[in-house]
């Protein structure tokens, strides 16, 4: 069981109308692996990430997490679309961090972190609160537990968002450009938290433009362009010696 990959994408395609955003993406993410998805905007990275927790429905191909097909049930060689309740159960185990944080503005940092474990898992308030405080301490925000998101900096908000996702004890974490909406001096504090998370063995897929993070933290790097995987491999190798001319062109702009 431990040998099975956490995420398997098998010829995954996604179209919005006639616009094909993902074209037959196949890749695997092993347990404990940190994979960085890079590429120019509009290359389909974010869409692919959103397919993994069924925020977007794939048009064709198979996508499974922890051996379980995402969004569909298979019986008698037929696929059945999942009920919202089943899809919600799958999403519980997949944490997601958004570019724009998307914290609940009417709740304090602590309430943000406590919301899902209480409502979704139905856990008791006392245990959840202790765990939430511990998580906030882990992302360095123990002192800010009672602040509303509007009174936190972007970096602090994103760290709360990471704590909120971790509160559901996910087996996979998805990061959708987690530092792109941050002021440059706040990027580091978020990446540090992510780096610790990676060191602790969390399986992570990170859509990012932070090549330094990709080089230092990621186990693998996937370069996407125009909805296809152009090149993938060990980050240091891909970054230092890109094989494909599109990768070369992209990296020459961002590095």
């Amino acid at each position: 069981m431990l040998d099975t990959p956490m995420v398997v994408a098998d010829r995954v395609s996604k179209s919005f109308g006639s616009n094909e955003v993902l074209k037959s993406i196949s890749l695997e993410v092993k347990r404990g692996e940190v994979m960085c998805l890079v590429g120019p905007s509009g290359s389909g990275k974010s869409t692919f990430l959103r397919c993994i927790n069924h925020l977007e429905v794939v048009s064709s191909g198979r996508l499974s997490v922890d051996g379980e097909l995402i969004g569909y049930r298979e019986a008698n060689h037929k696929l059945y679309e999942m009920r919202p309740k089943e899809a919600a159960r799958q999403r519980r185990d997949i944490g997601m961090v958004f570019q724009r944080f998307n914290l609940f503005p009417h709740m304090t940092a602590l309430q943000n972190v406590m919301e899902a474990p209480i409502r979704v898992k139905g856990l008791s308030r006392a245990g959840v609160e202790a765990n939430a405080r511990a998580l906030l301490a882990r992302v360095g925000l123990a002192e800010r537990a009672d602040y509303y998101p509007a009174h936190l900096s972007g970096g602090q908000q994103q760290r709360v968002a990471i704590a909120r996702a971790l509160a559901m004890e996910p087996k996979l974490m998805l990061f959708d450009e987690p530092t792109s909406a941050l002021d440059p001096e706040l990027v580091g504090e978020v990446l540090d938290v992510m780096q610790v998370l990676a060191r602790d063995g969390m399986t992570m897929i990170v859509v990012t433009h932070e090549m330094g993070f990709a080089r230092e933290v990621a186990d693998s790097l996937v370069f996407m362009d125009g909805g296809v995987v152009v090149e993938s491999g060990v980050p240091t190798e891909v970054l230092a010696n890109p094989q494909h001319h599109r990768t070369q062109a992209f990296l020459s702009k961002v590095l």
Binding site: M96, F98, F104, P105, H106, H151, E189
Partner: protein
């Protein structure tokens, strides 16, 4: 810092200048005051207002009972209107075209015709549908009773007001729901929350900020619209009741004043309630800072001040900021 002189000890005294005068503005204010005073003095003396009669009827039991019925009509019809309005708003946002179209047609009819006309229709419902039957279509009904008995004028008044109001509430609620950033729904969904949980815990609380001000207007407007249920005819609410009393006593003007005072009393209470509701739902969004704790800016400035003594008057910047380390501050 701007108040610090080169020696760094004395602050500038406040500016002393002759204030700019606004003679015309002041004159206008005085004239307005005079007009108001004249009107009040005149009204107090004028026999047509008959103030003793106002005082006599203000707390007349028939009037206070009618005021209570007006309040009941407002509350009941508003509660139904909000529930139905939320339902219609969600129906209008439904991906199913039939569902959203039906909600649209409802709005088209109930917003497109005067409430007075609608109430007159409700009054005639007993004539149009003489019995209410329960059973399967095209078979003998299991139960059948006359509409006039089942639906009193009071119930018809509530139904008429509520169904009309629901159309307006639906649009207010829809605007509120649409005002919430779509990222909120995504975040809740990604956490595994169900559609219902997402609505109740995330979307609706945030949309309340947008919904409450116009909804408050609607409640106040409803209180006054209850005076139209005379179209049904229902005669026990405040306005019709005071008019009926006036018809006997010929005290028309004092009775109108009595009714107006009661309406003003209720609307004032509603406005206070609205103020507190708005405050409640502004949590996390208004300028309110968390209690007791200093905000970020103050925290970092005090931190700087203790670490570095401000250098004043030496040609250097007065406050030297140390290189900021965002990690250190919070961990």
């Amino acid at each position: 810092m701007t108040n610090t002189t080169a020696t760094g000890v004395k602050t500038e005294p406040g500016i002393k200048a002759i204030r700019l005068r606004h003679p015309w503005r002041n004159t206008f204010a005085v004239v307005l005051l005079l007009i108001v005073a004249l009107f009040i003095a005149d009204a107090a003396m004028r026999p047509a207002y008959n103030w003793p009669a106002v005082g006599k009827y203000l707390f007349d039991q028939r009037i206070s009972q009618a005021a209570f019925i007006t309040l009941q009509l407002t509350v009941y019809s508003m509660v139904i209107a909000i529930i139905l309005g939320v339902t219609l708003a969600i129906m209008r946002l439904s991906p199913n075209t039939v569902v959203s179209s039906i909600a649209w047609v409802y709005l088209w009819i109930f917003r497109g015709t005067p409430v007075y006309v609608q109430l007159a229709f409700w009054g005639l419902i007993g004539t149009i549908y003489q019995t209410i039957d329960i059973g399967l279509p095209f078979t003998e009904p299991w139960v059948s009773f006359p509409t006039r008995v089942a639906l009193s004028a009071f119930i018809l008044a509530i139904v008429g007001l509520a169904l009309n109001e629901a159309a307006y509430m639906a649009e207010i609620v829809r605007a509120g729901l649409l005002s919430v950033d779509s990222g909120q729904e995504e975040a809740a969904t990604a956490l595994g929350m169900s559609w219902f949980q997402t609505m109740v815990r995330v979307i609706v609380p945030q949309s309340m900020r947008v919904i409450i001000p116009p909804a408050g207007n609607e409640v106040i407007s409803m209180l006054k619209t209850t005076s139209l249920v005379t179209a049904i005819p229902f005669t026990l609410e405040l306005y019709t009741r005071s008019r009926d009393i006036a018809a006997v006593t010929f005290e028309t003007v004092p009775m109108l004043i009595v009714a107006s005072i009661w309406y003003l009393f209720f609307t004032s209470i509603l406005m206070v309630g609205q103020y507190f509701l708005e405050k409640r739902f502004a949590r996390g969004i208004g300028d309110r800072r968390p209690d007791k704790k200093a905000d970020d800016a103050t925290a970092s400035i005090t931190g700087t001040m203790t670490g570095v003594t401000p250098v004043v008057g030496s040609g250097q910047p007065t406050v030297v900021l140390p290189p900021t380390d965002p990690h250190k501050e919070d961990r």
